[in-house]
Amino acid sequence: MPHLENMVLCRESQVATLQSLFGERHHFSFPSIFIYGHTASGKTYVTQTLLKTLELPHVFVNCVECFTLRLLLEQILNRLSHLSSSEDGYCTEITCDTFNDFVRLFKQVTKAESLKDQTVYIVLDKAEYLRDMEANLLPGFLRLQELTDRNVTVIFLSEIVWEKFRPNTGCFEPFVLYFPDYSIGNLQKILSHDHPPEYSADFYAAYINILLGVFYTVCRDLKELRHLAVLNFPKYCEPVVKGEASERDTRKLWRNIEPHLKKAMQTVYLREISSSQWEKLQNDDTDPGQLKGLSAYTHVELPYYSKFILIAAYLASYNPARTDKRFFLKHHGKIKKTNFLKKHEKTSNHLLGPKPFPLDRLLAILYSIVDSRVAPTANIFSQITSLVTLQLLALVGHDDQLDGPKYKCTVSLDFIRAIARTVNFDIIKYLYDFL
């Protein structure tokens, strides 16, 4: 089918396999087919395009949209009855509560003239969510042809491999089909396919080449790459539009776009800023350093003592308790590292995560690092509570424990270093892992 090949690129063998599996209209097909592959490898697109082009009666359902049993079954039945009664366009809404009713109603609906002799296809997209629904749903759909005694084939589309779907006592094994990921050549071909008509195909192909050079090692998802291609193309064309370079001046164009793409990786790719903000940024030509991503909003301005409380909390979380004497007392002895300690030193505390500490320890460390005298007023305690609200500290254990609350510090090393710098406190000196 030449028409089909133009719509679906680089998937010829999968289309051929599917077509041969479907066979002719009235033939029986395999009762269930399981298609898996990475995101954006074309599973949904190819299946939909093939079924639409061949005009086979089918129902397409997304399991994320229909997340309960009732929604799923009712949608399938209603869509089928729409398919079969195309004359008047009016058909009663079918309600269906259980899988048993579904089988019974399905038999009724497929008795209609227009559906009688052909294979009906039910396509379940994002089929991994079926595993979390009722336990009889997945085995039931796998056997639907047998249970309803009709010519129906169920197609499952998923990212997850079939081995993770199989129920404990076994089930009817579907035909498993793999949609391989696109190679870099295929990606280039597909991405170059939607070049805007104002520019030549070669110009766009060179741009895609540069884009893939930057992003291919990180991400091979076609959807993300397409999104990035569309967003950054205006910036790429800028020198040509302004007249500074011609279309063939690859070096200049590359030098213009490369830092821009690197910046995009840190912002738009991570969804730190939205695409519309990114486009505005390109048009306004403001300094990209002023960009405020989502994670920038976590840097709040804290009052003086709160900063010290946070620093003390970080020290309490990441230093083992026995080392407090060494860091925070004026006259301390040396810590002898026993053999036991030496063996288990490999995993530093920074790899394992913060440890919980009691409130008393926090206050003790706080008093030793703050220069001036700090009175233990209610002010200090309320600042601790606001840090918990800001989720810079986390309360560990039960809320009702009034006399011994335990906390842990949930900020990263870079964050605390930035804070410590603002109060002229050298935190590295006090951290056990950096001794």
């Binding site: 041969s20 002719e24 990921d181 990263s412």
Partner: protein, 407 residues
């Protein structure tokens, strides 16, 4: 003249092939029973005797057909029922009730289904009963026919029998077996299950009412028998030629091989079967690893090294990132030093693909970087996948194979 003849031949050929496809597809997909029962004649005889005793002589009994998935239980019972219906004297008043554990997930639905299949909806319509047993006994009362003193024999076929054993109190099973032991109505209860330990699932009172008759279907075929079955299954009735192959037997292979039969490719060849076998025995996880980006591959290699050093202890993102940093700083020329959030996004993609899994559920308080995970691939899978990985940078590949002593 010869052109037209060959065109006619092609047309006939295509028709003939369409017929072939139709017959064989109906046979495999729709499970139309083939006339031969391969190797289960003894069990078949046993079953048909039992059914005849219920249908003709009015004796109640119960039996369980046990066999692994795909051993032919449904085929056996369908065959037996078909033969039973062909016996004239029995066929007028045998009632069949087909229940399936996947469809009737509790006893209320099961009872409604029984009522429906016995066409008793009018009778039960406006009566309300207290217990399940009352309902069922009413149903069975309603089956007594006018002209004969006996009532109609009823055959209950319960597919996925083990799922019925999970219902509350096993009420349905208790009542069915009870009726098969005590009632006047000749009732035959036939259960089909894939679990060999089905008797341990039944409660004591249910088990004691069961007749402990079991029919086992163990496919202990040798290879020559498989080849014989293969030949018979693929062979076409009367007018088409038979083909003989001596290749690896695989059910899916058989189905897939059939797909390749088109007008230009009229016969199934050994090459097709080999190709189909390859398709079926692919390692699916290796396929998924094939499609990962280089950064994600580096993370998997880092996790592999952590597993080797710490002997399969769970790791978190921070540890993996640390390993990755060590690699970047010492060895890597082809992998750029990515920012931590970019690496985190790659890590989350691996989690989404279920190649790594958290050990316990996420609590809101803990940070994502410190959540403990484990890797669901083993070393041989990783190394095999790396061999096939396209355009793998050499230093990444060397990092994967090296032990700690590359320092």
């Amino acid at each position: 003249m010869s052109n037209r003849k060959s065109k006619n031949n092609n047309l006939m050929h295509a028709e003939c092939l369409s017929q072939v496809q139709r017959i064989l597809r109906a046979r495999f997909c729709h499970q139309n029973p083939h006339s031969n029962l391969f190797g289960v004649q003894v069990q078949y005889k046993h079953l048909i005797e039992l059914l005849k005793r219920t249908a003709i002589h009015g004796e109640s009994n119960s039996v369980l057909i046990i066999g692994p998935r795909g051993s032919g239980k449904t085929m056996l019972i369908n065959h037996a029922l078909k033969e039973l219906m062909e016996i004239g004297e029995a066929s007028e008043n045998i009632l069949q009730v087909h229940l399936n554990g996947l469809l009737q997930i509790n006893d209320k639905i099961a009872l409604k289904e029984i009522t429906r299949q016995l066409n008793l909806e009018n009778a039960v319509g406006d009566k309300v009963f207290g217990s399940f047993a009352e309902n069922l006994s009413f149903l069975l009362e309603a089956l007594k026919k006018g002209d004969r003193t006996n009532s109609c024999p009823v055959i209950f076929i319960l597919d996925e029998f083990d799922l019925f054993a999970h219902h509350k109190n096993q009420t349905l099973l208790y009542n069915l077996f009870d009726i098969s032991q005590t009632a006047q109505t000749p009732v035959s209860v036939i259960g089909l299950t894939c679990r060999l330990d089905i008797l341990e699932l039944l409660e004591k009172r249910v088990k004691s009412r069961f007749s402990h008759r079991q029919i086992h279907l163990m496919n202990s075929f040798g290879f020559p028998q498989y080849v014989k079955i293969f030949k018979e299954q693929l062979s076409l009735p009367a007018e088409f030629p038979d083909k003989v192959f001596a290749e690896k037997w695989n059910e899916n292979v058989q189905m897939l091989a059939l797909n390749r039969v088109t007008a230009s490719h009229p016969f199934v060849t050994p090459a097709d079967l080999m190709e189909a076998n390859q398709l079926c025995s692919m390692d699916s996880k290796a396929n998924i690893v094939h499609g990962l980006s280089v950064l994600e591959i580096c993370l998997i290699i880092a996790m592999k090294h952590l597993n080797d050093i710490y002997e399969e202890e769970p790791f978190n993102f921070q540890m993996v990132y640390n390993e990755f940093q060590k690699f970047i700083q010492r060895k890597a020329h082809s992998v750029y030093n990515f920012e931590k959030p970019v690496v985190m996004k790659a890590f989350e993609h691996l989690q989404q693909l279920e190649l790594i899994k958290p050990i316990e559920r996420t609590s809101v308080n803990s940070q994502r970087e410190y959540q403990l995970m484990k890797l669901l691939l083993d070393n041989t899978q990783i190394m095999n996948a790396l061999q096939k990985y396209p355009n793998c940078p050499t230093d990444v590949r060397q990092w994967a194979t090296s032990s700690l002593s590359w320092l």
